[in-house]
Amino acid sequence: MSHRYYQPEIETASREQILAWQKERLVKQVRHVWDHVPYYRKKMEEKGVTPDDIQEVADLCKLPFLTKDDLREAYPYGLLAKPLTDCVRIQSTSGTTGKRVVAFYTQHDLDLWEDCCARAIVAAGGTNEDVCHVSYGYGLFTGGPGLNGGSHKVGCLTLPMSSGNTDRQLQFMIDLGSTILCCTPSYAAYLAESVHDRGLRDKLKLKAGIFGAEAWSEEMRRNIEKQLGIKAYDIYGLTEISGPGVSFECEAQTGMHINEDHFIAEIIDPNTGEVLSDGQKGELVFTSITKEAFPLLRYRTRDICILTREPCPCGRTHVKMTKPMGRSDDMLIIKGVNVFPSQIETVLLEQGYPANYQILVDRVNNSDTLEVQVEMTAENFSDSLARITEMEKSLVSALKAMLGIYAKVKLVAPKSIVRSEGKAVRVIDNRKI
């Protein structure tokens, strides 16, 4: 079995070598942040830590955590560690209560991010002979730009398709002989089904798929692989840390290798913040040790997973993480988009609806669906059906504006949503993942 790597000397480096890189880069990064990010410096001071206390990777646990709340509070420039004149790119993710999270990149940051994506593409068998079909969204979302850049680095012929327009996707796939498909797993499943229904499988040259940005099951993987005749690889990332490519799957398909030369991963107990040992299930925390513009230290991802260090048959030495098994907060990932119940609540209150609501998430034909059930009130009710449907429509558009995705609104009878004594059960997620 032959293995190919994008950066073999890094991807197969010894544990000692990786730790040496991490140590050197961490010490330097903490100093950089201390000097240039007053927001984080203050957090360190409050904890009584100075850069001198961070001499080893093991000292990492002395540093304070960063959370999504910090990113919101520091929006937009509070965590920036480089002058804007050194930055060349902004990417963004949806955030709570209308405030987005923005991340900044220097050209060097983009290079390293694209390297990470290139590693993922090569791990999926990509070479300069491949046609890489990128159907992730392009724009503020990191999916499209990340894989696009990685594909260039590998030297693939890159098709920047973006998402949507299935007919055109299939046409280009056939006409231009796409060999690697990059998109969300749900879109891959949808494309696979269309290919199957139209009997186009024999006309395709696809050999691999790189699918991420949302949770998917092993069963879904096998279905996509069977319908498209490919091998499907998982990829993980988050805008706050860079984007896709923070970790990626190799041909072993038993977890995603974290690019440890750029990101130090820790698993913590989400309740106490205490660091757990490898093999234990907990919240994933990342420290960016090479990013210049937006270097987050100990960023809590809220993703629950396990780290494993058993030797991988692929020869890569970097630690593997399992697929996220859940969240330590109430964030939902729907169609690859981050959705917080609080965002939905904000819209409902703004539009004059009661805060009593329920969110139903399901997966129909491999695509996520979101329904918001809200109780009718005397104030909103009218004898005119036209007026009620008008109101309903304006709620749907307000939700779309806030979340970035379509949510079906269902008006229900007063008092029909179950009141609970303690914490309200707002979300019913019926997806089998």
Binding site: M376, F381, S382, D383, I388, P414
Partner: protein, 144 residues
């Protein structure tokens, strides 16, 4: 000349109508007219009852969401072509009909229609000019 209509929000699922009519029956409220406008998820049930005030407090006490709307009622001959002249007047006056439905009485040879329209005053004038009358609550046997 207005009469009171009660509109109630109902979810579009089995048993909802049976339940509300049962509540009205138990309280001896007489339903005189009923109409439903619906979407796939919910409907607006519009009713004319003999005692709107009492019906309202009973329904509110039973947890229903409702609204009271003044509507107009007109009597037309219970014969072919009876309704056409009234609708002709609405068309002539460029008055929009939001909705309309029929109302039950025991008066022979007459049919009654309930109207929710855009310009009530104009409608009343046109009716009078053409020798037609709107019905009062009293005439319909409703408590006003």
């Amino acid at each position: 000349m207005r009469i009171h209509q009660i509109s109630v929000f109902l979810e579009n699922r089995a048993g909802q109508l049976a339940e509300i009519t049962k509540v009205l029956a138990q309280n001896n409220i007489d339903l005189r007219a009923i109409s439903i406008a619906e979407t796939s998820d919910y409907g607006v049930l519009r009713m004319i009852v003999d005692d709107a005030e009492r019906a309202t407090s009973i329904l509110l006490a039973n947890g229903y969401i409702l609204s009271m709307t003044p509507v107009l009622a007109a009597a037309v001959p219970d014969a072919p072509g009876g309704l056409a002249p009234v609708l002709g007047l609405l068309a002539q006056g460029q008055i929009d009909i939001e909705y309309m439905y029929s109302l039950f009485t025991h008066v022979e040879n007459k049919a009654y229609m309930v109207f929710r329209i855009s310009d009530e005053e104009k409608f009343q004038q046109l009716m009078e000019q053409n020798g037609m009358q709107l019905c009062s609550a009293q005439e319909l046997g409703l408590k006003s």
